[in-house]
């Protein structure tokens, strides 16, 4: 696109352009009415006018919001591109040579590095679509004496105050952490497995939420949690149906900003992609290279 056309396109796509043009239209309409009925304005025409004005204003506000969301979504394509580039480059770096890396310690160090970069980008995606600061965390699941626990592996923020002074060991499947337990449940409504709440304190008041982190609302008040897992073919409906690596969580302090629609599908897609990357890095898949 030419520079002039590009500039024009950017101006017209800006929500402020719509707001400005809306105000101008309304002002012109008012002037027209004043000019025509100024001397003796009728009651019906006044009610009609103000009613129309209210509807029009609402329409414009909504339209501006949608435009703003649309611009944010367009900007995300670049971030998705970066995420894929991180995965591709990391896998090539480790395996596409005559002496591929096979040492688990080195592979895990590289996995952590790549996932840190990915978490930062996922946080950028959600901060962009919610217009609020979001935090992204990967939790890994471990097993001790037949009990499952989730531990923080990587966050989108380095040296996060959530991890001090003590790191929390979250019990999974015990009812102590609703987010993880609900996220693991299979759903019948066609949505990916997840836990979602746009208002955790309200859910807690209804006794619908528990969290081993005391005073969690100092850090976040709404969240989406999805499992990072793959299906073990042939083991459906058995306890080992899934190969569960952990959880991908996004949260924010703002209420009612995250949604259960495209936000959920985006984070679930990113978790599935993450599962494949981690499985490749951990030698779970057999990949033949020429």
């Amino acid at each position: 696109m030419k520079l002039t056309t590009q500039k024009l396109s950017n101006i017209t796509a800006n929500p402020l352009f719509l707001v400005g043009s809306g105000i101008s239209s309304i002002a012109a309409f008012m002037f027209y009415l004043y000019d025509k009925y100024g001397s003796a304005p009728g009651v019906i025409s006044s009610i009609t006018f103000y009613g129309t004005l209210a509807v029009l204003s609402l329409g414009y506000v909504y339209s501006a919001r949608i435009r703003s969301e649309n611009i944010a979504l367009r900007g995300l394509s670049e971030v998705f591109f970066e995420i894929n580039q991180i995965y591709r480059d990391k896998l090539r770096e480790q395996f596409c040579s005559d002496s591929p890396v096979t040492d688990p310690e080195n592979l895990l160090a590289e996995e952590e590095l790549a996932l840190k970069g990915v978490c930062q980008r996922i946080a950028a995606i959600f901060s962009s679509v919610t217009n609020r600061r979001c935090m992204v965390t990967i939790k890994l699941v471990t097993s001790e004496e037949r009990k499952c626990f989730a531990h923080t592996y990587v966050r989108s923020q380095e040296l996060c105050n959530r991890d001090t002074p003590d790191r929390i060991k979250y019990a999974v499947g015990s009812g102590a952490n609703t987010g993880f337990d609900t996220a693991l449940a299979k759903r019948s409504d066609g949505l990916p497995s997840h836990f979602y709440s746009a208002n955790l304190p309200a859910l807690e008041k209804q006794r619908g939420y528990s969290n081993q982190r005391q005073h969690y609302s100092r850090h976040y008040r709404s969240t989406i949690v999805v499992p990072i897992r793959g299906v073990n073919k042939g083991k459906e409906s058995t306890p080992s149906e899934f190969d569960l690596i952990g959880f991908l969580c996004v949260d924010t302090m703002s209420l009612n900003r995250l949604n259960e629609g495209y936000h959920l599908f985006m984070i679930s897609a990113l978790a599935s992609q993450m599962y494949n990357f981690m499985s490749l890095m951990r030698g779970k898949y057999t990949v033949f290279v020429g």
Binding site: T102, E105, T142, I245, K284, F288
Partner: protein
């Protein structure tokens, strides 16, 4: 002898057809498979030939006759085999140290290659 990736793919394809290999028309792929080398472009060429054949005869049920192919190197398979839980514990032990090393020592392990 280990099956090659191509052989396994073909086997999976045949089993997905839910039929016996002898009861369907055999498509001889000797020329294609013989031309497959380490060069990925030739893999692409082979895939294109197969796709073209499928387009010409979309209803045709195919089975493949396997020929020995070049040795392919399975690099990721050389990574030690561990369960997901063991990988997770190792990953956390790298970061948090002693606490998880203890857990790792008590975890049942998959047979290492």
């Amino acid at each position: 002898m280990d099956m090659t990736l191509l052989q396994r793919t073909i086997k999976q394809f045949i089993s997905s057809q839910h039929t016996d290999i002898d009861s369907v028309e055999l498509l001889h792929l000797a020329d294609i498979i013989a031309s497959i080398s380490k060069n990925s472009n030739e893999w692409n060429a082979a895939a294109t030939l197969l796709a073209a054949d499928h387009e010409r005869n979309p209803g045709k049920r195919m089975a493949f006759r396997c020929y020995p192919t070049q040795e392919l190197k399975s690099c990721i398979n050389e990574v030690p085999r561990m369960s997901t839980l063991e990988w997770n514990t190792r990953a956390l032990a790298r970061i948090y140290g002693a606490e998880f090393e203890e857990v790792l020592n008590h975890q049942p392990r998959e047979a290492h290659k």
